[in-house]
């Protein structure tokens, strides 16, 4: 949707937000809040409004606001999204349910513990910066070696939350980690032996059921589902080559 700066009329939206505070709001419950929203109001805007004017104890994670940091992953009407770009009036209902991500331990309200996720992708050797994909032919100015840009994946964890396999098998490396492994392989950052040792096992590349939910929810067009398929092809080729070398 383009909507370049045209807010349109306001509408009242009801948010049902999952609340949990260990020992205080325990078991979890849903609290109801009402906010005014226009065409560009996001779920994160609504949570900020609620925190500032209705309930200062509401907890959620957020930082950058243009879907660049990956901190504000949450489930909105059952669908994994980044709160900062999930527009309230585009959720398909006047009552919008906001819940924390699955597949990570709940700390409080909408805040989940990112530690297990960091542990999944760190071994893949993910880097933030790589060469530009945009206009690589451009003459670079004196003093600039080559134009660089950040990695697409923002490590927001929402692919893992949406993945039906990860939800039943916590040991599964998961879509982001496997996509990172694929990139480390094709860019040559890691040797094939290193990458395949990381992914070639029951909780690695073979565990994926190709549900492709990860690619559907990815806010950064990383398309982890197809990266996993490509990683499998690379792995099979590698094994076949090794087999014949041995022979």
């Amino acid at each position: 949707m383009t909507n370049n700066g045209f807010f349109g009329p306001k509408k009242t939206i009801t948010l049902k937000v999952l609340r949990y505070k260990p020992g205080a709001i325990d078991p979890p419950r849903y609290d109801t809040f009402r906010v005014e929203a226009n065409a560009v109001t996001t779920v994160l805007d609504a949570l900020e409004e609620i925190k500032a004017t209705q309930d200062s104890s509401l907890l959620y994670r957020h930082s950058c606001h243009p879907a660049s940091c990956g901190t504000c992953g949450m489930r909105v009407n059952g669908r994994e999204q980044l709160g900062c770009v999930a527009r309230l009036l585009e959720q398909g209902s006047d009552v919008v349910v906001v819940e924390p991500l699955a597949s990570a331990p709940l700390i409080a309200d909408l805040v989940v513990d990112m530690t297990p996720f960091a542990e999944r992708f760190a071994p893949a050797g993910m880097r933030l910066v790589r060469e530009s994909e945009f206009n690589p032919e451009a003459e670079t100015p004196v003093g600039v070696e080559t134009f660089t840009r950040y990695e697409d994946c923002i490590e927001c964890n929402i692919c893992l939350s949406a993945c039906p396999v990860a939800n039943t098998n916590p040991a599964f490396i998961g879509p982001a980690g496997l996509a990172a492994a694929y990139r480390a392989l094709v860019t040559g950052e890691r040797s094939p032996a290193e990458v395949f040792a990381y992914v070639d096992h029951d909780d690695g590349v073979w565990r994926c059921h190709s549900a492709m939910e990860c690619s559907a929810v990815c806010p950064s067009n990383v398309d982890p589902g197809h990266k996993i398929m490509a990683l499998r092809r690379e792995l099979v080729t590698y094994k076949v080559k090794r087999f014949f070398k041995r022979g």
Partner: protein
């Protein structure tokens, strides 16, 4: 040398991040409290520019010099956290061209390296630039990751022993005979309230500094001065594109990841929690951004948001763009006869480390500790080490 002194830092933004790192390296025991997620205030949501200082080289040279010095230091201590593509100040109109001499003189005075490019060179490097472009000046701007860069400071500090407590809001100051002796906090995780004792409390809450210092009866002349930013889909430039003219609305486009971020505007608010998002400012970003790169006018909007600059308005009627971008550290013993509380505010993301150094110097002076600053040399851990 370890000491028994304990410092509580309020505010988990970029200043707080760099400060806990600095104080920890100097051997102090440090606890940081932040009411929400780390970097959920101004730190996370600026446009992501690592300033060369070019923007301030004519009107605010103190800030410009701070920027170029810190620009070089941050690249050294946080390799991999920047898109090091430089920046380009472009002249679109004759009036812009007339600004060139002043700009180059300002950059030279502040030791900011420049290179003048012809219109043809600019168009070759930046194919989407307004074809009316007259010339460009290349400067060492860069794009920073607003979340991951401060998180590297937090990660390193945590590894060195700092106690970092997000979701913990200060609800009062502990005071004994006029001396601040700690803070009372509420955990938003458990709902419980408790005290944290401290030898010194540092208020590093940026645009919220006045709200926090008032709890101790101290004043801070901070004016929350928001600006609107708009991110559009697509990477429409390689370098950071700036308007070659005095600072104004919509004079910059920062490329980052698959986005181009257009900024910004400037107005003043009383409450940094209620910034709002003025519709006319959002439209202005498309209009003014379109003067630099016409294609952004029709690129799909990804997000629009406001962020509050914590500008210092010391003893005058100045507002908005007239306010300096430099930072100030206040010892409230000197200012308000409140002992035990120090406030750091003003400044910008680019100068986070320098702000921390200045504040840590004040803290160490007050405690009688002689420990040099080491943050110019210590290379930061990767941000994800915070979660290990």
């Amino acid at each position: 040398m370890a000491t028994q002194f304990h410092v509580v830092v309020i505010g988990g933004g970029s200043t707080g991040a760099a400060l806990v790192h600095d104080l920890t390296l100097r051997g102090l025991k440090v606890t940081l409290v932040e009411r929400g997620e780390l970097t959920s205030g101004t730190a996370g949501r600026h446009h992501g520019l690592l300033h060369s200082g070019g923007r301030y080289a004519v009107n605010d040279q103190e800030s410009a010099i701070e920027c170029i010095e810190e620009n070089q230091i941050l690249r050294k201590i946080a390799p991999g956290s920047f898109e090091e593509n430089d920046g380009l100040f472009v002249a679109i109109t004759d009036e812009d061209v007339a600004y060139l001499d002043k700009f180059l003189a300002g950059c030279e005075a502040c030791h900011i390296p420049t290179r003048v490019l012809t219109a043809e060179q600019v168009k070759r490097l930046e194919p989407h630039i307004n074809p009316q472009v007259k010339l460009g000046v290349q400067v060492p701007d860069a794009t920073m990751d607003c979340w991951r860069l401060p998180m590297r400071f937090f990660a390193t500090a945590k590894r060195n022993g700092a106690d970092i407590r997000p979701y913990t809001e200060v609800i009062g100051m502990l005071r004994t005979a006029g001396i601040v002796t700690g803070v009372r906090v509420r955990s938003h995780v458990t709902g419980k309230e408790y005290d944290i004792k401290a030898d010194i409390v540092v208020n590093a809450t940026g645009a919220w500094a006045e709200k926090v210092s008032e709890m101790a009866g101290a004043r801070v002349p901070v004016k929350p001065t928001p600006g609107v930013m708009v991110a559009v889909r697509g990477r429409w430039c390689n370098m950071v594109i700036n308007r070659l003219n005095k600072p104004s609305d919509g004079d910059i486009i920062v490329p980052q990841r698959g986005l181009s971020v257009i900024g910004t505007t400037s107005w003043t608010v009383e409450d940094p929690d209620r910034l709002g998002l003025p519709e006319d400012h959002v439209r202005l970003m498309f209009e003014k951004g379109g003067e630099l790169i016409p294609a952004v006018r029709h690129a799909p909007m990804r997000a629009a948001w406001s962020a509050a600059r914590p500008l210092i308005a010391e003893g005058g009627a100045q507002e908005g763009r007239a306010l300096p971008r430099t930072f100030k550290c206040f010892d409230h013993k000197v200012r308000d006869v409140v002992e035990g509380l120090v406030t750091i505010s003003g400044g910008k993301g680019t100068t986070m480390r320098a702000m921390a150094e200045a504040t840590a110097n004040v803290v160490c002076d007050k405690l009688g500790i002689d420990a040099p600053c080491r943050t110019k040399e210590v290379v930061l851990l990767p941000y994800w080490a915070y979660y290990q």
